[in-house]
């Protein structure tokens, strides 16, 4: 125990030391780890939390190509990769046109058509449950779900296209495991829906939320168009063979999201920020006013037993959530389909917090931690 505490303190101090210099990181080509991946790996090893924050800052800079968007907003959303009928996706940089009704509503609302409109159709987390809004949200938003989207970087996308696994036919035809390049990136964003309520929008802006433009399709086929507030963001890449898992969320999330308890209580993060993340958070928050209300919860990259969760993305199963262990189960079998990571145990369900043994995947093709491939469709 004494040794564990010492290591924790040392780790936190190391993070603090690294965090002193928040402005020296070069965002140029950061998605490729600059010019020297070895240097990036070394810096990451020295303070994973500092590197995570550096990436987060770079991702949130204005995009050089689309100045009205942040860098991460220009990444490829998964709904434009895994297309209906298993169709081949277009070039990485070509965005699918917005549905006409979305454009019409956005125009009527005076929204910026040059900015990204995020398609935030998803409302379920990987445990199958939704996270509901509550607390200080307007009455009209109470009980409605937090919304999600997946995005990927160009090298992730290119690999998926090159291996023809953007559809099920390609995945079914795979002879072996996938192996994404080191420069593969994926993001998962959580959004509080605002709609057109300007007062609420301002409240969330005052609480430090990044406000994006978004839409989603309702069960009856019609679209909701409006603003949304970024409440959480997973940022992952393959700097390490087990990938690097980092997650950020807004410090005010407990004001707007609630648990699914019989009488809901504010949703809080029970896994972090980790001791190592705390000083780094303080440092980067001070140096980046537009991100000052976001905090790094922690970083995972070692295949050990651990938990790390974002209260917005793994809400109800935080204490059994391990990004690395769970994504390590990404696998497909032509006969059994995708691996079921809801493990039968104790008469109920648990999720893996330690990487499962290779023997569990006999008959499966490993998908190199990329669960977004589940969204692929068959050609019909």
């Amino acid at each position: 125990m004494r040794r564990a505490i010492s290591l924790t303190v040392l780790s936190a101090l190391a993070g603090l030391a690294q965090a002193q210099d928040t402005n020296s990181f070069d965002c140029n080509q950061f998605l490729k780890y600059g010019t020297d991946i070895t240097k990036t790996r070394a810096a990451f090893q020295q303070s994973p939390e500092t590197m995570a924050w550096n990436w987060f800052v770079c991702l949130n800079q204005p995009s050089a190509a689309q100045t009205s968007n942040r860098v991460w907003e220009t990444m490829k959303p998964s709904d434009q990769v895994y297309l209906p009928d298993g169709a081949a996706p277009g070039p990485y940089a070509s965005n699918a046109p917005l549905p006409a009704d979305v454009t019409k509503q956005a125009t009527a609302l005076g929204m910026d058509l040059n900015r990204t409109f995020h398609n935030i159709n998803a409302v379920q987390q990987v445990d199958g449950l939704a996270l509901h809004m509550g607390g200080s949200v307007p009455a009209s938003e109470k009980g409605k779900p937090v919304r999600f989207q997946l995005l990927m970087g160009q090298d992730t996308y290119d690999y998926i296209v090159a291996r023809n696994v953007y559809n099920m036919n390609g995945q079914n035809a795979l002879a072996g495991n996938l192996d994404f390049p080191a420069t593969a990136w994926e993001l998962k964003a959580a959004w509080l829906w605002i709609g057109s309520d300007t007062t609420y929008r301002q409240t969330l802006a005052n609480d430090g939320y990044y406000i994006g433009q978004a839409y989603y399709q309702q069960d009856d086929g019609t679209y909701q168009v409006g603003y949304a507030a970024l409440s959480g963001l997973h940022v992952v890449n393959k700097l390490d063979a087990n990938w690097v898992w980092t997650t950020f969320e807004n410090v005010n999330n407990s004001k707007y999201t609630v648990t699914n308890a019989p009488t809901p209580t504010p949703m809080t993060n029970t896994t972090g920020p980790t001791p190592a993340a705390k000083p780094v958070n303080a440092s980067f928050q001070a140096g980046n006013p537009s991100l000052s209300k976001y905090e790094l919860i922690g970083v995972e990259f070692q295949p050990v037993t651990q938990v790390l969760a974002n209260s917005q993305l793994e809400s109800a199963f935080q204490n059994t959530s391990s990004c690395l262990a769970c994504h390590g189960t990404a696998a497909y079998s032509n006969d059994k389909g995708y691996f079921n990571f809801a493990i039968k145990q104790g008469g109920g369900i648990v999720y893996p917090t330690t990487p499962l043994p290779p023997s569990d995947f006999d008959g499966y093709k490993k998908l190199d931690f990329v669960w977004s491939l589940k969204r692929a469709q068959w050609q019909r």
Binding site: N340, G348, I349
Partner: protein
């Protein structure tokens, strides 16, 4: 033996019970539980059809109905005709219930360990364990956060049998406590339903629960607790099999939101139109938005004992010597103008080392001191003084006295209803000569209040769910005067209930079209309708009764002998317009080596009844087995008759529901098989699998309407977790769905879906095939085969 042994740990507090009440309706046959479907023939009376149900059914379920709006057969059913029931909201009092149950620890209301005893009359309250909470917990749902235990009525129309599913019992905490991991789920026993009738409501009912834990299932953190350390030591020293947990629940109350929880207050007993309108509006809001969902659990008091479990003791019901009611006694209380006649409940007795230990948790009736209090407090009725002794050659030999001070509430509270009386050697010898008898002492003479039940029989697998075509063997532990009864022959017969509402009487199942008077009808006042407990020719007549109200609304139960009213025949009621409220009395089970016979009913028609029974004999350990194949869906109840004379025991054609309290019954549920459903699913997919929208089509045309729709209507709490009408949400939780609908989890898991476990094997097969071969593979454009069902 059992918790009557030492050491003991005493616990008490409050329990909550949160059932979804629309699917467990006491009064209206909304749910066809045999076939697991909305009772469409019933709802059609209100112009609610499968086609228009999406817009008509839930609005009807949450709105008041008047008696005049109902089909006549609803109130024809005996006990279901009380005019005070209406107006009545079909959803009843807890639309969003999730079947959760457990102890209450809310604000200053706690459920705690209160003390213990290492030996008789050495009560310990100063202990590290005392004052800590205890709780029943469920299985893990993707998290280390505790989940709730669950309870399920084996049959919606038998509220005498409720199963309690749990994963563990937790006493104390990580610094001092004990975790007891489940081996046996519980089934309530000794429900004193007659007290509801005698005193006016379910608040007066007591029931007993018991479960046992083998040694290997125990996780001790004894800390500084003398009680825990002693229990552990004695378990080992006395070579006990493990630990036994027995508790009684009593003083049930409803509509206590804001008292035991943070939910908004509702008064679901208020028939005033404005109150009903408010409840309807609250239900509608909960249906519209999950943030407005609220529970309205029932609550009751609980008193529990943790003690030792020994070989040959029933795991799920009190074993040993048992006293049951004989003659009625008179009881009174300060506010009662006239003494009331009632029966004692069930008493377990044991003599150990010159100490007589009695379990009175279920013996004496009680009443709420202040009916209007937020948190009810009980006191026992003054039920007089007693002498416990033995019956020798028809003469009563008194041995010990029991007075009010020994059974009053404060004594009950302190020792969870257990009473220890020191004996001299002579007294011990006399009591051990048995059989025991309990006499109430009155100026006008003694009343034989309770006598020892010579035989007891308990089924270990009681409450099991089986599928049609399944072959099943049940183990029956038989005891005579509290000891395993070797080489004892039992006769076993199957009974059923003829109505799918209220709690009704039991009739022998039969295979021919026998007809008999089922009940006597009073069209001018159906509150007077009563069952005809028809018997075989030559059998002893059975006393009849008249009930006012049913289920939660039961307020009176009195014996009547004279049959009046218009006789209504079983066949007429079963096949006529009243069919939607009936359940055929045909067998659900086919016994192995069954004996098929014909009996003649004692009626003018001398009706012949073709029925079957089976005999079985206990081994040296007092355990017998009965095996059968399930042949039809339904809710069979097995009744056991001990052959204790040279003559075969009588198998009665019918018996009253209140006999279920102490008789040897084993309720079961047989789930239907529908191979055509499985074939239809494969055929349908094979017709459409190449279509671009095949995933949507198979959902819209099959999975939702033919598998999930019923559960969507009846379990609106699911809207919060997995809206069963949403293809996206169900497919998005397919990994969890696969786990929770598994057959393996149906038997014991608190998370089994649906929570009431009424998923037929065919629906499960279809869901599993859809989930594993289609959803998990993203709907491959490939055909399915019937053999795919075998490879899941």
């Amino acid at each position: 033996m059992s918790v009557l042994n030492f050491p003991r740990i005493y616990l008490n507090g409050h329990m909550f019970w949160n059932p979804p009440t629309a699917n467990n309706n006491d009064v209206l046959p909304l749910y066809d539980a045999v076939n697991m479907d909305i009772n469409w023939p019933f709802t059609n009376y209100f112009d609610i059809t499968q086609a228009n149900a999406p817009t008509t059914l839930m609005p009807w379920i949450i709105s008041p109905v008047q008696a005049k709006d109902l089909p006549p057969y609803v109130q024809q059913v005996p006990t279901n005709g009380s005019p005070t029931t209406f107006p009545f909201i079909p959803a009843e009092w807890d639309l969003f219930g999730d079947n959760a149950c457990g102890t209450v620890s809310y604000q200053s209301t706690r459920s705690t360990i209160i003390g213990g005893e290492l030996q008789a009359n050495t009560y310990i309250v100063e202990d590290a364990l005392v004052g800590r909470d205890f709780q029943l917990l469920g299985n893990p749902f993707g998290s280390q956060s505790p989940t709730a235990a669950r309870f399920v009525d084996i049959s919606p129309w038998q509220n005498t049998f409720t199963a309690l599913y749990f994963d563990k019992l937790q006493l104390g905490d990580a610094s001092c406590g004990l975790t007891l991991n489940r081996e046996y789920r519980m089934l309530d026993r000794f429900l004193t339903f007659n007290w509801a009738g005698d005193f006016g409501g379910l608040a007066y009912v007591t029931t007993t629960w018991q479960t046992c834990f083998p040694r290997d299932n125990l996780e001790w953190v004894t800390g500084e607790s003398v009680l825990l350390n002693s229990l552990k030591q004695q378990m080992e020293l006395q070579n006990a099999k493990g630990l036994m947990f027995r508790f009684a629940t009593y003083l049930t109350c409803y509509d206590r939101n804001g008292v035991f929880n943070d939910f908004p207050y509702v008064d679901t007993r208020d028939n005033d139109p404005s109150a009903l309108k408010r409840l309807t509006a609250m239900y509608q809001k909960g249906l519209d938005n999950v943030s407005d969902i609220f529970f309205n659990p029932a609550y009751n008091r609980t008193a529990a004992t943790l003690g030792l479990w020994f070989e040959h003791e029933y795991p799920t019901a009190p074993a040993g010597q048992r006293l049951v009611t004989d003659q009625k006694i008179m009881v009174t209380c300060p506010a009662m103008p006239q003494p009331t006649s009632t029966n004692l409940g069930v008493t377990s007795a044991q003599i150990t080392n010159n100490t007589l230990s009695l379990d009175l948790a279920n013996t004496f009736p009680f009443y709420p001191l202040d009916k209007n209090a937020d948190i009810l407090t009980a006191e026992k009725f003054q039920a007089g003084n007693y002498k416990l002794g033995v019956s020798q050659n028809g003469n009563f030999v008194p041995v010990v006295d029991i007075g009010f001070e020994q059974y009053r509430q404060s004594a009950f509270h302190q020792r969870s209803g257990l009473l220890d009386i020191p004996l001299t050697a002579a007294q011990t010898a006399t009591l051990q000569s048995g059989p025991l008898e309990l006499q109430q002492q009155n100026p006008t003479g003694a009343v034989k209040a309770a006598t020892q039940q010579v035989w007891t029989a308990e089924v270990i697998e009681s409450g099991t769910f089986v599928d049609v075509n399944d072959h099943k063997t049940l183990n029956i532990m038989v005891q005579k005067n509290g000891q395993p009864a070797a080489n004892t022959t039992l006769f076993v017969a199957e009974y059923g209930n003829p109505y799918n509402v209220t709690t009704s009487d039991y009739y022998l199942t039969f295979s021919n079209k026998a007809d008999f008077t089922l009940f006597y009808d009073h069209p001018e006042n159906r509150n007077l309708n009563k069952a005809n407990l028809q018997q075989f020719r030559g059998a002893s007549p059975v006393s009849n009764y008249l009930a006012t109200g049913s289920g939660r609304r039961l307020t009176a139960l009195k014996n009547v002998s004279q049959q009046t009213g218009t006789p209504v025949g079983y066949q007429t009621f079963l096949t006529g317009s009243s069919k939607p409220i009936t359940v055929p009395l045909t067998p659900c089970l086919q016994f192995d080596a069954g004996i098929y016979t014909t009996g003649i009913l004692e009626n003018d028609q001398s009706t012949e009844v073709d029925y079957s029974y089976v005999t079985t004999t206990t081994g040296p350990d007092g355990i017998a087995q009965v095996s059968f194949r399930a042949i039809a869906p339904g809710f069979p109840t097995l009744r056991f008759f001990v052959k204790d004379t040279a003559s075969d025991p009588d198998i009665p054609f019918s018996f009253a529901l209140n006999q279920a309290q102490i008789d040897f019954l084993a309720p079961l549920r047989v789930l239907p098989l529908d191979m055509q459903l499985q074939q239809d699913f494969v055929n349908h997919w094979n017709d459409i699998y190449k279509d671009k929208n095949a995933p949507e089509e198979i959902w819209d045309d099959f999975i939702y309407p033919r598998v999930l729709k019923t559960f969507y209507y009846l379990y609106p709490i699911m809207n919060k977790f997995m809206p069963l009408n949403s293809r996206t949400r169900v497919e998005g939780a397919v990994d969890q769905l696969i786990r929770l609908i598994s057959k393996e989890y149906q038997e014991e898991s608190t998370l089994a879906m649906p929570i009431t476990r009424d998923l037929s094997q065919s629906r499960r097969a279809v869901l599993e095939l859809w989930a594993q071969k289609l959803v998990k593979r993203n709907f491959p454009p490939m055909p399915l085969k019937m053999s795919d069902y075998d490879n899941l």
